[in-house]
């Protein structure tokens, strides 16, 4: 069943990354709206983060990069969750920007927070399974 989770996770991150990579200016606006980073940092993040999601998503599929990819995606999920939670707590009326836009408002942010939490759980479970598999004496790095 692990491969199903990995494919789902990879698809989610590749789709989310691709949607944002197509329009980095709009994603930079979305990052600015969180009021957490100075504008140049937001622009840099808007250029880099989508490609990190895409390569991370693809990295989950390949066994030789899976451990590192899952670790990175887990950290990304936590980072997204913290950013969205901070916007929700500060009562900001913004869109998540997670898939290159999204609905505006507190209800939409709550939905994004739940999605981030679900993704973090899935990534955490897959990471734990991968660590357990790698720690086994007879583990082979080349398995799918």
């Amino acid at each position: 069943m692990g491969w199903v989770g990995r494919i789902v996770l990879a698809a989610v991150f590749v789709c989310a990354g691709a949607a944002k990579a197509l329009d980095p200016a709009a994603f930079a606006d979305a990052i600015d709206s969180y009021r957490l980073l100075p504008h140049p940092a937001g622009v840099a993040l808007a250029l880099y983060l989508p490609w990190l999601e895409i390569t991370g998503g693809l990295g989950v599929v390949w066994s030789r990069t899976r451990l590192g990819a899952l670790s990175l995606l887990f950290l990304l999920c936590l980072m997204f969750g913290i950013a969205v939670a901070s916007a929700w707590i500060r009562d900001l009326d913004i869109a998540c920007g997670c898939f290159g836009g999204g609905a505006v408002g507190a209800a939409a942010l709550r939905g994004s927070l739940l999605r981030s939490a679900a993704l973090a759980l899935l990534t955490g479970a897959l990471l734990w399974a991968e660590e357990t598999r790698c720690a086994r004496p007879d583990s082979s790095a080349g398995s799918m």
């Binding site: 990579a21 606006d29 709206s33 590192g68 408002g105």
Partner: protein
Amino acid sequence: MQARTSTEKPTVLWRRGARQAALILLVALVPAVLAAWFHPRRSGWSQDQPVIPEVEWTAVRQWRAPVLLVDVRSTAAYESEHIPGALWLGESIGYDGMVAVARAWQPGTRVVVYCDSPRCDVAQAAARRLRRELGLQDVVVLKGGWSAWIEARRQRR
């Protein structure tokens, strides 16, 4: 010796994970750097992100030029009530919303974007996109947004 092996195992795993993560971070850097130079929709680096001017509703009411009001609040908020004649830009301020504004806009029309409250940055972001992507220059943001309009309506009554 046995104890040392058992404590090394997680360390080896960590190192392997860190190496793989570093590789992914580096690979992602390549298209990101290319996008920074060549992407047609990249954002400017300048610290002075253009701040769209804000206007009071009382000033908007006195304009003689036709006004196109653009609502960037949520679907539910727009459907519940909106400024009469306001066009809804869509929840994601995406392509469809942009097309709708481009169709509604006529030469000489002034565009006023509003969201919920002064805390809302969506109107600024939407106004910037209307300027950048549709080339509309006469775009402003309604100061105080929807809550200011409600307050102005209350005072008129």
